[in-house]
Symmetry: C2
Amino acid sequence: MYSGAQISIYPMTDDFVGVIVGALSALDPYRDRLQVETDDISTLLVGAPEVLFPAMRDLFVAAAKSGKHCVLHATISRGCPGEPDDAVCYTTEYGGPVLPLEQRKQMALQAVQSAPVTDMASAAQFSLYVMDTNDHMDEIYGCIDFLRQSGTFDRAKNFCTKLGGDAGAVFATVQAALCRFGPPEGHVTIDLTVSANSPTVR
Amino acid sequence: MYSGAQISIYPMTDDFVGVIVGALSALDPYRDRLQVETDDISTLLVGAPEVLFPAMRDLFVAAAKSGKHCVLHATISRGCPGEPDDAVCYTTEYGGPVLPLEQRKQMALQAVQSAPVTDMASAAQFSLYVMDTNDHMDEIYGCIDFLRQSGTFDRAKNFCTKLGGDAGAVFATVQAALCRFGPPEGHVTIDLTVSANSPTVR
């Protein structure tokens, strides 16, 4: 099943090009398992979720370690109709029979608990969209229940959920949301924003 | 029906706070018809689409007129289950009987043609998500057909469609996509990124 993201990094500094170029080497350990394609708006990363999320995390952390206020935005998708399947997207994260919602919540919580620590504090918000099903709100409420127990939950906002904490746990939370909720073969997307070093008081 | 957006402006400059603060007065003509609520990640705007999109456009153009590379991101939603209805969201843009897809395409094209000119060149990309329907891809393909005729179409990308042109036409295109496609009472969302003054060659 095709999966990937359109990602952008926004360093709020005159040297935004330098910050981005300086962070790009963070993608090197993942490049053999990702397709990468850049234009003036975003960079397309195509690959399995277990590669995609660590790659986004490491790129974001590398940019944020500049100390500048940095934001990563990602439009993430799995199972989009009309997108070709691709071997680079092969994953064991989903597919197969649908497990009970409660079991999927526990798998999601375990994934967040075992996430690596990056020592980069972050704030994030995301929206999970589940298409092709008439009970999509059940999956979303199940996901929200996971989020409230995840340790990264900040608060519910209109149209999205706000997270906070170490970037390792935050990206693991969003990865689990994509992989554990919605039909295994369904079309599920996420609109994700992650921020570091904001001068704005929470 | 509840409608609004979580929006963020990213000016790629050391003086990002100054650019944002300097642009905020662009919202003044709309404030009596919008609810506005800001935190460290985004600003919530709640209101009808015919107020929301011009407000986002004018805010973006005001920031971009700084000459700095500026990006606006918006998570836009209408008809989200669980959100309260609100009088500020009353609109004549949708609701009522479902019109034939071809007629809605024509209404969308007319809206783009009559959009005001802002003299701010922009590039944009967005994803349209239609929930709660088993034929959501029909609505999306109908929308793509409108986009190809809109005059702002740049190209199809994985997970999104890229637009370009005057910011007036670009925001009118996205507004028409939200209002004219998907069920009138349905849950429809957009993940939108608009950029100006990028140093990257297209």
